[in-house]
């Protein structure tokens, strides 16, 4: 792992995910603002709509990916010792997969009922 090994692919992935996130994040932001309130039932019914669940799954996937790419660049820039850098990058990757999977699972659970 690291920018010197896979820099070009990383650069492109960061930008392609950024472009995808423009509509996805704006959809999420304005959808929440447009809800009459943020009570449990209101939010659950909204997120349970097929179109909302689908877009939320896409949003979380791309968002966590984009954020992982960004934070890994921060680690690469500021952690200089090779061993510590690898540990940080691995820890980040584990944390992102864990938190991202939990978020995706939560959306699926709302979409398909529990």
């Amino acid at each position: 792992m690291g920018s010197a090994k896979e820099g070009v692919a990383h650069w492109w992935a960061q930008r392609v995910s950024a472009v995808a996130l423009i509509p996805l994040t704006l959809w999420f932001f304005f959808s929440l603002l447009a809800l009459p309130d943020l009570q449990f039932d209101t939010v659950k019914i909204w997120l349970g709509l097929p179109i909302s669940s689908l877009l939320a799954l896409l949003l979380v996937t791309v968002l966590f990916y984009h954020s992982y790419l960004g934070t890994s660049v921060i680690v690469e820039d500021y952690v200089h010792a090779a061993g510590a850098k690898l540990l940080w990058l691995l820890a980040l990757r584990f944390l992102y997969v864990l938190a991202g999977a939990a978020a995706l699972f939560a959306i699926l659970r709302v979409a398909f009922g529990s």
Partner: protein
């Protein structure tokens, strides 16, 4: 590799702060803040899947004073990172590199993000919207 402390670029202590590098570091700071926000987003979604009681507990934290301040900060971070990210995408396409364009687009991004944050939270906190 010899571990000699070599100077890093840019030389932070002798570098004159200006809008270009300020907005650049702000892009990174807001990105890092939004990364922390993803943990909260995860927690919020999990609480929604967990049922009414878990969701109410999450919302009481988020709607409290500290939660509200954090959400206002994340709103600005999101809007700034979004708008400045679009500015970066234009640069990647080779557009807007002239000095005047860079400075103008920089100020537009900062003021638009601040203005939109103020509008959204003004409506949420003081508007008729419940």
């Amino acid at each position: 590799m010899p571990q000699r402390a070599r100077p890093l670029s840019p030389h932070v202590r002798i570098y004159r702060w200006q809008i270009g590098n300020t907005l650049s570091i702000l892009h990174r700071i807001t990105g890092a803040a939004l990364a922390l926000g993803l943990l909260v987003l995860s927690y919020w979604l999990i609480s929604l899947a967990g049922g009414a009681a878990a969701y109410a507990a999450a919302m009481s934290v988020l709607a409290g004073p500290a939660g509200t301040i954090a959400l206002i900060g994340w709103t600005f971070a999101f809007l700034y990172h979004l708008l400045n990210g679009i500015r970066h995408l234009f640069w990647d396409a080779g557009l807007g590199f002239e000095r005047v364009q860079r400075h103008l687009s920089g100020w537009v991004v900062v003021l638009a993000a601040l203005g939109a944050t103020a509008c959204v939270w003004g409506l949420l906190l003081f508007g008729t919207h419940p």
